[in-house]
């Protein structure tokens, strides 16, 4: 095929694809327009069960209690992502080194010294607040993750032992605790994740606290792994 005809083939292909997607968009759009503006969701059912959920905020109740199983699997997804990123190993490649730059500046060092305690306190508050207002393990974990990312890129958290047994245990702890509680509730209450009502609030808080740490650690490790901050097998050329 000549270059010119390949070009026009590409244009035709793109146009056909664009037309297909526009048709899809119109179908989806008309379906969205047909949705009634009256509420049809589960808000009423959630309200009805709030008094036995162990927490006061409906979002936390849905995430950790009513649909806690989704959240359990989602923590599994996060853990799988960490394992998956770690399974991408660079030791055989000496070409194309992509070492992310580390900024060792005194300003950053002092700034982090002031910021870190604040971040930790805010993260702790977030977990606590989650039971009665917006907040919870994910928001808290995101804060901790941001702290971890800053620490790594300022060279203050050295990554060589980033894959040690302790770190791995820490990463798996949130998931293990959550699924451990799930298995425990099967033994005592006969259903997966059926919390005894009197302990529901406490169990949710305990799960959220550990989850916050594991999520923060997972986000940090994902960042470090993707950006290539590893001690092992990472000699500069």
């Amino acid at each position: 095929m000549s270059g010119r005809s390949r070009m026009s083939f590409r244009v035709i292909q793109r146009t056909a694809l664009g037309a297909g997607i526009v048709a899809l968009g119109l179908a989806l759009g008309s379906a969205v327009l047909s949705i009634s503006p009256e509420a049809t969701g589960l808000a009423r059912q959630v309200d009805g069960a709030m008094n036995v959920s162990g927490v006061a905020h409906p979002l936390t109740a849905v995430l950790l209690n009513f649909r806690g199983y989704d959240t359990l699997l989602e923590i599994g997804v996060l853990l799988v992502a960490v394992i998956a990123v770690w399974s991408l190993d660079y030791r055989e490649e000496k070409r194309f080194h992509l070492q992310a730059p580390i900024h060792r500046s005194p300003v950053l060092r002092v700034g982090m010294g002031i910021l870190l305690p604040v971040i930790f306190i805010t993260a702790g508050y977030m977990v606590w607040a989650g039971s009665y207002r917006p907040g919870g393990a994910f928001q808290s974990g995101a804060l901790l993750g941001a702290a971890g990312v800053t620490l790594i890129s300022s060279g203050m958290l050295v990554a060589p032992f980033a894959r040690g047994p302790l770190v791995r245990l820490f990463l798996a702890a949130g998931f293990l605790m959550f699924i451990g509680v799930a298995a425990g509730t099967v033994l005592f209450k006969g259903r997966l994740l059926w919390y005894p009502i009197e302990y529901a609030g406490l169990l949710i808080l305990a799960i959220e606290t550990l989850l916050a740490f594991s999520i923060g650690a997972a986000l940090t490790v994902l960042f470090a792994g993707v950006a290539g901050f590893f001690g092992k097998g990472e000699e500069r050329p």
């Binding site: 969701g41 589960l42 959630v46």
Partner: protein, 102 residues
């Protein structure tokens, strides 16, 4: 048409734009960015649906939070994979080899 419909339609539009990007952009990072635009569109639709009634419906909010964490995890691995692929092959695209005659 209400505000919910407007946001819902915007979500659909974002999904379509992202889908077009995934299918036409050869660069892997552009594909991943497009994918994230598309998922933002789906999440926007879900949040729009939650806004009906006198108070927001917490269930779609929880679903979107779950979806976001999944999307973050998948994106992190995908970016890592793209970087690994670049190191192994020097390519930032998925070139079609003659063997892939599907």
């Amino acid at each position: 048409m209400t505000v919910m419909h407007l946001f819902g339609l915007t979500g659909v539009a974002l999904f379509c734009i992202g889908l077009f990007g995934v299918m036409t952009k050869p660069h892997l990072l552009k594909k991943l960015l497009s994918l994230n635009i598309a998922s933002a569109g789906v999440f926007l639709l879900m949040v729009a649906l939650a806004s009906r009634g006198d108070r927001p419906d917490p269930v779609p909010h929880a679903l979107v939070l779950t979806g976001i964490v999944i999307s973050v995890s998948a994106t992190a691995y995908a970016v890592g994979l793209a970087a690994r692929l670049h190191r192994a092959t020097g390519m930032v695209t998925l070139e079609v080899k003659p063997e892939d005659d599907a």
